[in-house]
């Protein structure tokens, strides 16, 4: 069971955009350079984040990406599902109906498979934790432990480093 590396990349890119806290588009190449990521691969994930409505993509020579909504309204689950899809870790293939299951009356299969039911509960618990945490929450934790990070991000993208804290009221 493994999430794609694009989920990690996407989360860090959204955090970086949250630090900028404005609607000035950032080119994909600059976003890639900010975390030393391969631009072509990252671009595929940026497109997925746009399709999911988490980023706004602006075309043209001065185009780029901005957050499509406030970081308080982007959960870690939104990002994971935008990149990796919303299917759970367990895919029931109804094995219970095969082999010896063919001897059982149809009534036995009216409810969900008991194995699948527990697996779906586990997936729901996983999603619940990710749904409960937003990009703004992550920004808050990082600002606490690495107070310099927001300023470094803002300088890198030619924003006024001093106004980093004001960006939170966005």
């Amino acid at each position: 069971m493994k999430l794609s590396e694009g989920v990690e990349w996407g989360l860090h890119i959204l955090l970086t955009l949250a630090w900028l806290g404005d609607q000035e588009p950032v080119p994909a190449a600059k976003l890639a350079a900010s975390h030393d990521l391969p631009a072509a691969y990252l671009n595929k994930h940026l497109q997925a984040l746009s399709r999911a409505g988490l980023l706004t993509s602006q075309p043209g020579p001065r185009g780029g990406f901005t957050l499509a909504r406030p970081p308080e309204q982007i959960s870690l689950l939104d990002v994971a599902e935008a990149i990796d899809g919303s299917q759970g870790a367990f895919r029931c293939s109804e094995i219970r109906r095969r082999g010896m299951g063919e001897s059982l009356p149809a009534r036995c299969f009216e409810g969900p498979c008991a194995i699948n039911a527990v697996m779906q509960s586990a997936d729901a618990a996983w999603r619940e934790v990710l749904a409960r945490h937003s990009i703004a929450d992550i920004r808050g934790t990082v600002d606490e432990h690495a107070p310099e990070a927001a300023g470094v991000a803002r300088r890198l993208f030619d924003r006024d480093p001093g106004s980093a804290s004001r960006s939170r009221s966005r």
Copy 2:
């Protein structure tokens, strides 16, 4: 994010052995036939379940597999980890240290990455649900909704169908 199909196969095979409720070895080929699974692929997973101490493998012409411990003591997490390993869905590659992270003092990286911390919490919630449910729990649910299943399994493996309920006291 996806668990391998071997997890589903392994769970159904362990449930079947739980219905038999004895220590008479079942050949891999018969286990595969019981759910119409490809024997060669299933065998790989049976070996993994044996290595993890969930099955006991007995060699020889009358050999096969038995449960290595009572189904009450085999959790769904045990099975998932035996087949797919115990690594969580999210693998942090410390992206925070790359690119703009290189400008930050080492102190900023003393704690875990805030993104990784939430991801690990989500994985822990997933594991907690699977650890809380045993093969015996699954057997109990299926016996309730498909009371014929235990008897079908026992007949298929030449056990006395009438003693299916007694197998629970194992």
